[in-house]
């Protein structure tokens, strides 16, 4: 049983407000998994920490109870471009804004690199709602 080398992908970090507007956005390169993997084996934690410090310097995050895993982000939808995949980030952020007490959301999206995908992709998402001080 051979193992393939994982490809290169992107973890996009969005900071969105309760209206669904993207306030800030940054990309971090990740190795894409062959199968189920711990994130720690694909991404250097200090790389993500550096990017998040750049987005929110010296801030503390107060998470609300609203947390959206993958299933909320239209599980059956596939996208052909990175831009298409990002449109639902705004939509789900508005939903989180109306359901949670937090004014902001941190949304992570994992997808292949580049603006166009070779095959249609259903990216991996996760959303944390909360406030910053």
């Amino acid at each position: 049983m051979g193992t393939e080398t994982p490809g290169q992908g992107v973890l996009t970090i969005f900071l969105t407000d309760e209206n669904g507007s993207v306030v800030r956005q940054e990309n971090v390169s990740v190795r894409l998994p062959n199968e189920r993997s711990m994130i720690t084996s694909l991404l250097n934690s200090s790389a993500l920490a550096g990017v998040m410090e750049r987005i929110l310097p010296g801030m503390a995050f107060y998470p609300d109870s609203v947390f959206y895993p993958d299933s909320v982000f239209y599980p059956d939808s596939v996208f052909k471009t990175s831009r298409e995949a990002q449109t639902i980030v705004a939509e789900v952020s508005r939903k989180a804004g109306s359901e949670g007490d937090g004014e902001y959301n941190i949304v992570l999206m994992i997808s292949p690199g580049g603006p166009d995908f070779e095959l249609p992709v259903n990216p991996g998402y996760v959303l944390f709602n909360g406030n910053f001080r």
């Binding site: 998994p33 189920r36 994130i39 993500l48 990017v51 801030m59 994992i110 991996g124």
Partner: protein
């Protein structure tokens, strides 16, 4: 001349069908997973003083999993009856 056109049309149709039937299609599904109990624990700990952004980044990397599922289907010619 008419036979030639018919022959050419049949040839074109056959070639096109072969290409369509042999084509592979599919999609890639990624999942970014966190356990709800891990999230709840982080929320409780951060309730009073919050969690520093740097620590949140470390938490995100250390507590999550990513999975990739490639769904491929091939349009095949129906099996011929014996």
């Amino acid at each position: 001349m008419r036979y030639l056109i018919i022959l050419f049309t049949v040839l074109l149709f056959t070639t096109g069908t072969e290409q369509i039937l042999g084509q592979e299609k599919g999609s890639v599904v990624y999942e970014l997973n966190y356990s709800r109990s891990d999230i709840s624990m982080m929320q409780k700990k951060a309730a009073e003083k919050g969690i520093a952004v740097k620590d949140l980044a470390n938490w995100i990397v250390k507590n999550g999993t990513v999975s990739e599922k490639i769904i491929v289907w091939e349009l095949r010619r129906p099996d011929k009856a014996c």
